[in-house]
Subunit: 469 residues, 2 copies
């Protein structure tokens, strides 16, 4: 129903055109360091939005547009980019809400889904001209490995080699890289490659990356990202190089060093710049998901690696916005959320610790955040809450615990998962098995239309989209 | 050693530069209708070239440059296009020449290998200026499906739909497409799609293509090619459409028909044109391999389908060269070879029949071949000969047969594989099991450096490269 002075005088056709031109669009990119729960996050986010106007009691109290009743309906639409694989929300939600609920199958490359969000504007002008507006939300899901490749654009082959070889001076990289390092020491870097030596060196380096990435070590800062997920580029020479120690003398383009350097440059050109130009430069908002608890479980090295990966990402964004990195010229992202997922795997009173801890991980760079034009926030959340708060008696005292079905079990158990530290643990604090956070099965949901149980997803939505309505 | 008037007066540096600028390059594209032996063809071709100057007795009598001793040496080089997967000759030859020889694993996408061919020029001028020249041969291997997509560029969605639906009026397409056709009849084509109907329609159409392609039916003329080999595009909307019957009334872009048509256009733009611009337009020579015997084995429908696929390819080339198809503007291919592979699966005296038969398959269009500037040839060959000619006694008469180890067996058997017809068989000639050509294991090779046994591979080389020396 149209009300107010304006609408009564605007002819219908003009009104419709105006409506259309007032519609807006926002591209929300979601990525994560490996196994951080990207697919579950997007599935839950889409589900919350689709059902936000149905629920009797708002599931999203901190997402203002939903809470104050201005949200009129959300619909999945045809995605705008036909050459990008579709994010299969339908399949993911079916797995999550089946009789025996399962976590959705993770995505492996890029994918996209579009939602049309209809809402009642409360802007004094729009309210009368176009009382119901539409925000098109395109959610783009892409592997964290691609994001961690962006810094390569500002590094020469020499710089990247140095950076990587330095990282290999510390465990577990040192042990894991031994075979590869021993092999490259046998090569005459300034001479033409003999036989299959370049391919062998790169195969050993790739095997090293795979071992670093395995659940046992859980490292994230692995470059180049496509080496462990090649897709259609499998077997292409630009995925066959590796870092090399610096050469003091001269070398030709046909030497081992020359060939490797050329391939590194091709990788930047054909893979990293392509991602930047075709996708990254069109993103408006970015979420980076991190499984802090898993990093804590694995130990000091995985944790330090996660910290360095996050800061590498953060620095890229800020340098980009301030113009220090010319390759990020023209990028639009103005809000960046680092979210620690699986907040339900710790007891509720640990939530502030988790957030504080995440903030501490990136404290230094974040101080410049607002100044440089990318508003950054940290948050702990659970996309789908799969535990309940409970209490246990321990030596006569009540202690808080959580109750859920462990991944390996069939029955719900109540347990005290351990404390999340606030400060960065010192190297000597990493006693064996200090942290043992568990993984849980998804909950059985009585009524999916009521929205999925979550922790702070509404706050994430408010930060990411709130200003767009 | 330099001889002659010219070289004595040319300073060394100038001489080297001249040498380099005289080096030439040729891009040879190899493709095949499914299971035609592309990988074996390239492996054998590379192997023959690499060892052509070593063999005591020439294995390549009809490849003049090798036979008259002007070939000085061939070497595998770094491929020029770093973003294209490498053709793994090393792996293929290892499989072929192992203790228990196996056919090499087929390639699934595009791949590339570069050979440097050093030869003594017999050109009166070059002979003195640059007595040893180099020809860089880039062999590019790509799926036949991609080639069969090229005609789409000249077809509108309506034309393509009509073409495909007409083909579905004949068996086995009629039966195989029933489920898909029944489904699209339930759709209101001029209305907006409901639920998942577009995705379902395309899934049924894709399943139909997969069944057509299965060894049981062996059809080739299946469009769009990427539906059955999506690679990184798996799940992208531009791989989700299908042909639809014509609509008489008006329809909007949001209707089922409008959405399908838009995706077809995106497919042409993002897939077919991309292949054309990035690869096809740079090819100098093209080989299309065809397993005629397999098509004969399967029966009338597979055979007719192969014929129509070959002619579709041939027409594209000729229209392109004569400028009738604007999208082929600028294409360079000036020699096109259709080769019937596995010629060793028939007895030697059937070879002329096989070639005649192949010629008959494309008789009509080929008449215009030379006129339109693409020299076309047909040939029967065996990349790696895996049978021997033998004789058997049948009712007191000697009949020719072949001896080899069948794919399913361990021992060599001698058998009469049947006759290859010269004329196109009429529909009524296709009695059940009229043709039963067999598949054989690769031969055990005593000395691989002597070159692999083959049939007419030297003639293929002469046609494809002979004029370049």
């Amino acid at each position: 129903m149209k009300t107010g002075l304006f609408s009564r005088f605007i002819p219908r056709q003009l009104d419709e055109n105006l409506n259309r031109s007032l519609d807006r669009q926002v591209k929300l990119a979601v990525t994560g360091l490996s196994r951080s729960g990207k697919t579950v996050f997007i599935t839950s986010l889409v589900h919350q939005l689709l059902h936000a106007s149905e629920a009797n009691v708002s599931q999203l109290p901190f997402f203002r547009i939903a809470h104050n009743g201005r949200l009129r309906g959300v619909k999945a639409m045809q995605q705008p980019d036909l050459h990008i694989p579709a994010f299969r929300y339908d399949q993911a939600i079916a797995q999550l809400c089946s009789q025996t609920p399962a976590w959705p199958t993770p995505t492996s490359g890029i994918s996209e889904i579009r939602l049309a969000i209809r809402y009642r504007s409360d802007n004094l002008f729009f309210k009368h001209v176009a009382p119901i507006s539409t925000l098109y939300l395109d959610i783009v899901d892409y592997p964290g490995e691609w994001l961690l490749d962006l810094p390569l654009l500002s590094w020469s082959y020499e710089q990247w080699s140095q950076h990587t070889l330095e990282a290999c001076q510390y465990e577990p990289r040192q042990s894991l890289s031994q075979e590869w390092q021993a092999f490259i020491r046998t090569l005459a870097l300034d001479k033409a490659p003999t036989g299959d030596s370049i391919r062998q060196a790169s195969a050993l380096y790739t095997a090293f990356l795979h071992r670093c990435k395995s659940p046992e070590y859980g490292l994230n800062g692995l470059q180049p990202g496509r080496f462990t997920m090649p897709g259609d580029l499998e077997g292409a020479p630009l995925l066959e190089f590796c870092p090399l120690p610096p050469l003091s003398g001269r070398y030709t383009d046909n030497s081992v060093y020359g060939v490797m350097r050329k391939r590194y440059d091709s990788y930047k050109e054909h893979v990293v710049k392509k991602f930047y130009n075709e996708h990254f430069s069109s993103f408006d908002r970015q979420v980076v998901l991190i499984d802090i608890l898993r990093a804590l479980n694995i130990g000091n090295a995985a944790f330090e690696d996660t910290r360095s990966a996050i800061n590498m990402i953060l620095n890229s964004f800020h340098y980009g916005k301030s113009g220090l990195l010319s390759w990020l010229w023209g990028f639009k992202i103005d809000r960046l959320l680092f979210a620690a997922t699986k907040a339900d795997h710790a007891t509720p009173e640990q939530l502030p610790n988790m957030e504080k801890f995440l903030q501490n991980m990136l404290a230094k760079s974040q101080q410049h955040a607002t100044f440089e034009g990318v508003e950054t926030q940290t948050m702990a959340l659970a996309s789908v809450k799969c535990t309940q708060a409970a209490e246990a008696n321990y030596q006569g005292r009540k202690i808080p615990c959580i109750k859920g079905v462990p991944m390996s079990g069939q029955q719900a158990v109540a347990l005290f998962p351990g404390e999340v530290p606030i400060e960065m643990p010192m190297a000597e604090d990493w006693s064996k098995d200090r942290f043992q956070f568990m993984e849980f099965k998804p909950p059985r949901l009585a009524n999916v239309h009521g929205g999925l149980p979550h922790i702070r997803l509404d706050r994430a939505l408010e930060f990411l989209l709130g200003d767009k309505f």
